[in-house]
Symmetry: C2
Subunit: 167 residues, 2 copies
């Protein structure tokens, strides 16, 4: 049982996301994170899914994904050297000047950007891997995290090897 | 017909994502972008969906989402002052020294980070709103974009107003 990162190329049509995520839920898998957006080809999207499971089970799911209409390609990039990133927006309480200064100090340490300062709250933008974002959120909890919005993880293999639409 | 940004708080259970995205596809809506990740409460996730549609139709969908099991709260933040962000990883061809230098120059202009340099390719990380990422990808196309991975958009309201789990 370990975390797998799947990169799935799909045709950009209504329903594809629900078919892909449905395949996981019918097998009782809870998706840890999911991100979907356009890719380098027109009318094609890329779904990045992070899910925990046995290697054999994930391999089975990959085969079933490949059989779905609109799925072009499925790759498990877990064992390849890759970079992963996500972004989070965090709204933190900062009613007094001193707590605001402290929150801003923490932001600097984590190379987070301050994107909004109000009379009662501050909004931070932070980019990085999962652990960095978790650590920052944990540290900010003492001030009161009012809202925490996070994208799913995206990942790309290092070097020139790619996961792209076969020509 | 215009773009709407919906922020949906859900219980973190298997199947919720497929039920939410299925509701859109059954009505023929194609989701432009979707991001899902943990939020400030344990066992709760936040789904941010960008979708195009008439105001009245989106309002209807919001009502239907609210009726779904596991959906805690649905908010359309389109008309509130908000900040939106996404992140993209772009693998670009850079086989010659001169094209590598040009790609790096463009990266600097867009405040993108170079996160990997190989003998044939360079990987850029860029954060921002949709338009900025589109503009950068368009500019890099002349060198050959090998892979383009993008998260869905996330958004947060400015100021102290929040979308959070009712206590």
């Amino acid at each position: 049982m370990r975390e797998h990162t799947l990169s799935i190329l799909v045709e950009d049509r209504a329903g594809v996301l629900s078919r892909v995520s449905g395949l996981f839920s019918r097998r009782g898998f809870n998706i840890d994170s999911l991100a979907v957006g356009p890719c380098e080809e027109p009318d094609t999207s890329r779904i990045t899914i992070v899910v925990c499971g046995d290697d054999a089970l994930i391999e089975q799911i990959q085969k079933q994904l490949n059989k779905l209409i609109d799925v072009i390609k499925v790759s498990d990039i877990t064992d390849y050297e890759h970079v992963s990133r996500e972004i989070a927006l965090i709204k933190v309480n900062a009613e007094s000047g001193s707590s605001r200064a402290e929150v801003m100090q923490i932001a600097t340490t984590f190379r987070a950007k301050i994107i909004d300062v109000g009379t009662k709250t501050v909004i931070l933008e932070v980019t990085g891997n999962c652990d960095k974002i978790d650590a920052l959120e944990k540290l900010l909890r003492q001030y009161g995290v009012r809202e925490f919005v996070r994208t799913g993880r995206i990942a790309i293999m290092r070097g020139s090897k790619t996961i792209s639409v076969p020509k």
